[in-house]
């Protein structure tokens, strides 16, 4: 059974007085411990889908099933409880956190809010989370604005896994990182997925990153699915116009390896 199933999801906005569909009858599913990538150019609807799945915005039509239940029907306490299982990591962790909060505070919040650990146990839990994402436990006392971008994104991942989610939405989560840091964060995500059986909805405009981490890919264009399938197969031989354009636009680095 899939962790997430999205059916005929539609979100309309108005632009210049005229309605247009940012997301237009989109359907896909994500299996347990699977990485499904959403790719597409700016304005293709991939971030709108992320916000819909997280219920940060409500769709105009369509259905979202999460862990086998109608996610759109949930409200109040039931929605809050279910949200613990559905986490997110965004592109800019500095914008996602209170910059003056300490790392410990950022990780304490989900443990407290979702009642995962009593107060006395939380410092121990926080230290374990930091170790899990490859950070020194001494970082707990530091302010978010004092640590590096790569460390901050690790804290964002630690916060996301604190509530033991079955799905994490990663919206351009490695796009702003230096390449050396990016590789480490992708490896961490792959490792967590294998250990904790977490599914990822991995949103990126970068087919190189998608090819490295995703099992399947959905390529979007103007709110609609242009094509989908096995990530490596689609990227190796795209059939849609936008898929071909995305592949052609990737900078090539031709190396004569010894």
């Amino acid at each position: 059974m899939s962790v997430l199933a999205v059916t005929n999801l539609t979100k309309r906005y108005h632009r210049g007085g005229k309605p247009f569909a940012a997301v237009d009858e989109v359907s896909f599913d994500v299996g347990p411990a699977e990485t499904l990538a959403l790719a597409g150019p700016s304005g293709s609807g991939k971030s709108t889908i992320a916000r819909l799945v997280l219920r940060l915005i409500e769709p105009d039509a369509g259905r979202i099933d999460f862990e086998g239940a109608n996610f759109l029907a949930l409200s109040g306490a039931a929605l809050r409880a279910r949200r613990a299982r559905l986490q997110m990591v965004f592109q800019d962790p500095l914008a996602a956190f209170n910059p003056r909060a300490t790392v410990a505070r950022v990780l304490d919040d989900p443990l407290r809010i979702h009642g995962i650990a009593p107060r006395s146990e939380r410092p121990h839990r926080i230290a374990a989370l930091l170790e899990r994402v490859g950070l020194d436990t001494g970082l707990a006392a530091r302010a978010i604005h004092e640590i590096s971008g790569g460390q901050r994104q690790r804290v964002a991942i630690a916060r996301a896994i604190a509530t033991r989610p079955s799905l994490i939405v990663l919206d351009e989560a490695v796009s702003a990182l230096d390449v050396s840091v990016r590789g480490q964060i992708l490896e961490l995500l792959l490792d967590l997925q294998r250990q904790e059986r977490i599914a990822y909805l991995f949103i990126s405009h970068d087919l190189g990153v998608i090819r490295a981490v995703a099992d399947r890919v959905v390529i979007l264009d103007a709110g609609r699915i242009a094509e989908s399938g096995d990530a490596r197969a689609v990227i190796a031989d795209p059939q849609s116009a936008v898929g071909k354009a995305l592949v052609a636009a990737m900078p090539k680095l031709i190396r004569n390896r010894p």
Binding site: V133, G134, D178, V179, E187, L188, A249, M250, K252
Partner: protein, 336 residues
């Protein structure tokens, strides 16, 4: 060949909360006229600081030491050149960027016939060969001597076109203003020039685009406008600082193709700043690799890509996740 741009032992530090933070720690490099040089590096490498220093755009209060010398061949120089600065305030007491249209090194007299000395040239003769001797002549800024001017001599394209364009001025006027300021044109001529430039950067429907405001354009279109404004006065040098980093892959490829075409058509010298080694390699003749304020490697693009001398350069190449090689990610994973 004589260097168009000669940077020697450039050291720059910013003051942050009263603490001096070094951004460049003694960078030296030369550029030939017409060359396309990419400067790559990660966050904090100093690549943007180097671009800003070359353009004379460093924030006031920056500590600057070393030299940036320009030598503009006569045939290409409609103006006299001096400092690459429009900000006189960036010259603190230490002498700082002692830039002049420097004399050529003694070994290259043959080029002299096409060289043009700057109007601040009393020191030019003295400058000859000095850099090799180590005793670099320092000069204060000479603004009245018509410095090398951003906009006229150097075009600069920033990462975020939304912040480099005026949100409440029609884009035609923003481009025309550059042409009118630097080329002594009337407004009518400047607008005609702006329209031609919008055609050159392939903006759809240039006639109506002249009257559009930045918010009515997409990110890629705004960057095309920013490029049109940057080249409006026919600069000899174009500096693009992460000019495609905020754009999606398809638009990035279009903007890179546009920059490549314009640089080629106008014979501009290009300084292309990027964190992306593959993108840099697709555009540049030579690549300079910066790390933590130091120039750690500089070479022909093919040498950097195929035979990097530094482990760090190799690591950058290996970290590239392209479609043309197996990603070097550890899928079996150790917790990072």
């Amino acid at each position: 060949m004589t260097a168009l741009l000669s940077i020697r032992d450039l050291r720059i530090a910013y003051r942050r909360d009263g603490i001096e933070v070094p951004a460049l720690k003694g960078v030296s490099l030369d550029m030939e006229a017409g060359e396309r040089l990419a400067i790559i590096g990660e966050s904090g490498s100093g690549k943007s600081t180097l671009a800003l220093a070359v353009a004379g755009l460093l924030a006031r209060g920056s500590e600057i030491d070393g030299t940036i010398n320009w030598k503009i061949p006569k045939s290409q120089a409609p103006h006299s050149f001096a400092l690459p600065s429009v900000l006189p305030d960036i010259s603190p007491t230490r002498g700082e960027i002692s830039s002049s249209a420097a004399g050529s090194p003694p070994a290259t007299p043959a080029v002299g016939e096409t060289d043009r000395d700057s109007s601040i040239s009393p020191q030019v003769g003295e400058m000859s060969g000095r850099t090799e001797g180590g005793a670099v002549e320092r000069q204060p800024f000479h603004l009245h001597d018509r410095p090398l001017l951003l906009g006229r001599d150097i075009g600069f394209v920033f990462q975020d076109p939304s912040s480099s364009l005026d949100p409440v001025m029609p884009i035609g006027k923003q481009i025309a203003e550059v042409a009118r300021t630097h080329l002594d044109l009337t407004w009518r001529e400047a607008y005609a020039k702006a329209k031609t430039l919008l055609q050159r950067v392939r903006l759809p429907d240039p006639d109506s685009a002249l009257h559009a405001y930045p918010h009515q354009l997409s990110g890629g279109q705004k960057q095309r406008v920013a490029i049109a404004a940057a080249i409006a006065a026919g600069p000899k040098i174009l500096i693009a600082d992460e000019a495609t980093s905020a754009l999606d892959t398809i638009v990035q490829a279009e903007i890179v193709a546009l920059i490549r075409r314009l640089v080629s058509e106008d014979g501009m010298t290009l300084i292309f700043i990027s964190h992306d080694i593959a993108l840099a390699a697709s555009l540049a003749d030579r690549i300079a690799v910066l790390r933590r304020g130091e120039l750690i490697e500089l070479g022909e693009t093919s040498q950097i890509v195929n035979a990097p001398q530094q482990a760090y350069t190799r690591a950058l190449l290996d970290a590239h996740l392209g479609l043309d090689a197996e990603p070097q990610l550890d899928r079996q994973g150790t917790s990072a």
